[in-house]
Each structure stands twice: as C-alpha cells, then as structure tokens.
Point group: C2
Chain length 235, copies 2
Amino acid sequence: MIEVIAFDADDTLWHNERHYTEAKEIFTKILARYHDERWIEEKLDSTELQNLNRYGYGIKSFALSMIETAIHLTEGRITGNEIQEVIAIAWDMLRKPMEIFDGVRDTISALAETYKVLLITKGDLFEQEAKIARSGIGEYFSSIEIVSEKTPQSYQAILNKHQVQPQNFVMVGNSLKSDILPVLAIGGIGIYIPFETTWVHELVPEEELADKDFIRLASISHVPVMLASLTSPVS
Amino acid sequence: MIEVIAFDADDTLWHNERHYTEAKEIFTKILARYHDERWIEEKLDSTELQNLNRYGYGIKSFALSMIETAIHLTEGRITGNEIQEVIAIAWDMLRKPMEIFDGVRDTISALAETYKVLLITKGDLFEQEAKIARSGIGEYFSSIEIVSEKTPQSYQAILNKHQVQPQNFVMVGNSLKSDILPVLAIGGIGIYIPFETTWVHELVPEEELADKDFIRLASISHVPVMLASLTSPVS
C-alpha cells in the first residue's frame, strides 16, 4: 500500500532550469567583447560545478560563479559596472514569477485527499522557501523538506521522520540522480518524469541504470492513475 | 518539567561574528585607496541589511553584499582583480576552522543524558550543515533544525514536530531577537547568554524587553545548574 507520495519541486512542479539557461545567455552577451560564446559557457559550467562543494546549490552560488568566471575570462579586466550587470542577472532570477507546470495543481490537490503528500527539494533554504511561498501550492503538502543534497541517507531520514516504510513511499521527480536512484537505493518506488533540459550535474550515465526498476511517466497528470494501479493487485 | 533544551549555534556554541568582523577589516583595506574606513563600513552594513530580504543570511549573501558595496563605492572603477580579492575573503570564511567555546562540549554532552537536546540555527542550510559537521559535536543533538528565520511560527513548528509543550521547552542563545523573544512569545523559557559582539541586525531596543521574563547567564557552563533549579520545586 502506498502511504506517502513525495514530489521534487524544480522542473517537476515548476520551471527552473529555464531561468538558468536564460541567465547564461545574458551573461554570455555581457562578456561577448572578451570571448566567444561557447568558451564562456564552458568556463561558467566548470566553475559552477567546482563551486558546488564550496557554496552548495542556488542562485547566490550561481551569481558568485558568474562573477568569478567573468574575472577569470577577462584576466581581471572586467569593469565594476559590468560585474554589476552580472549581479543584476541574479536579482532578476530571484524575483522571477513562478511558472507552475500544467496539471500540477489539480494532481497534487487530488492526491492530497488520498495520500500524505510531501515536497522534497534540495538547494538553498531561503530561495526554496521563497519559491514555495510564491507558488501558491504549498498548502497541499503535509510537510516540506528542504535538504542540502538528496542522498539515500537524507531520504531515509525523511522516511523515519514520517514513519513510513520504503515500500510504501513513492518519489516523483525529473532527476534520475537526485529523485530516483537514491530512493531506489533505500527500497522506495521512483517515478521519473523527464524534463526538456537536464542540468549537466544531474546527468546519470546509462550503465548506472542498467539494473534499476522505476516508472517513467510523460506527465505529472498521469501520476494518480499509476498510483491507483500500484495499490490494486495486478490480476 | 523541562523536557527539551535547544541551543542556538553561531556565537552560542562557537565563534561566528568574529569572522565577519575580520572579513570587514580586510574588505576595508582593499577599498582603502577609494574611501575612508568608517564610510566603507557604514555602506557595507546598510547594503547587508538591505540584501537580507533578497538573499537571506550567510557568507554567500555577505560576499555578494561586499561586491555590490565595492562597485557602488568606487562608482564602478573597482577592478576585476580587486573583486577577486573580495571573493577570496568569502572563501577564507567558508573554510575557517571551528572555534568551539569553552565548556560547550561538556555541557551539551552532560545535558544530553537527561534531556532531549536540539540545535536550532537560522541561516544558510549548506553553510550551517557544513559547520555542524566540522564542529564534531553534532552527535550530541537528537535533532538539528535549520530555519531561514527564527520566528514564533518557526519555533512552534519545531515544538509540534517534537511534541513538546512550550512550558517544557528551553531555548539557549546569544540573540534576544532570534533566540529569546520569539520563544517567550509562544510561552517557552529563554536563557540568554550574551556574547561580546552582537550584529546590528540582531539588536533589540530596551523598551521591547520591558515586560519580558527570561534568564540571563554568563556562561553556557551554568546551564545545567539553572535547569536543575527550574525543574525542582522552589521551597
């Protein structure tokens, strides 16, 4: 019997990666007179990945990575005013209106009548809380869990807190790395809903999926029917 | 009967404000050729306070505020290399060794034998988790709660989670604003242990304390004796 169904937030319930992609385009334009586009993007991506251990996830980390990249790529010749333009990119990201995916509100509110519904998101506490508040759908979740990394350990801690066994726990998300593999590792059920863009940091090599069992759905709207089939015996 | 005793972390268990003070001194030196010290400090403080709503707490927010201040105070004339020096200040802060206050380890480990001991800290999730891990005293806490703001609501949510009544809950911390007043507001007991420096943002005007009852101790080592006197009837 499924008792608890948990949802990832970014790019599962609402757009997120899009804002980073747009931000990178503006950043590239600011640096266009110093370098070609491809090189700027590559350098920013590698700085971002390197800085994850230093800063964690989120827009503030991304802003610091953009600034560092800009200084590095211009060998310090970038001007203060250009860096202010880079900071303004982050300011815009922080106040972007929430774009909730189609079907999310209906699906979550319907599921909340039958199951305990959680939101489990990783990243910057302050930024994620602000997004949940602005989303207007926070009320449907019986608990919101914000973790710094989605690991088997962090999922197990959440299951303990809610006193649910892994076999009665379903996680829905767009990241195989963060939403599916760690949940399978502790014996839970994973529902993968791929999104158009996956951040390079979240990609999983095909061989890691070879012996894994999980459900793949095209839309969050298909979750209730799938859950109903999971809870009724297959005849 | 006291059941749960919770501790703030920064400047209650270990040094924190000191690192910001040192960082501001280095920042001021970097900008020394543009402005006088006092003016730089004032401008940084006001930028920091303004940015709390935008960024939340923590070193990444502080780094972005330093960069913004540096650009503003130099009217954009600051060089990329000087901004890299400012970023390096934040990097140093992020890897500062933990300086645990005297008596903390003995006090917390002794209390953990009698009470449920929590750590409740506000700020950046990633940075606070890293500090707790490096502190080596995380194991003594039965739960660690990291919140974006310490409000009566966020304390009440923690009390609900741990199923404790406010009158059986004690909060120990160095900030009247964050550790004491919101706990008193929900009917809990506050133990205030002042620290040598209080961040301007955490200061509370004297009139707000006029009708408030709380305990003030000179050292965390005095907490166990005070708790024992709270739990035994005064004859």
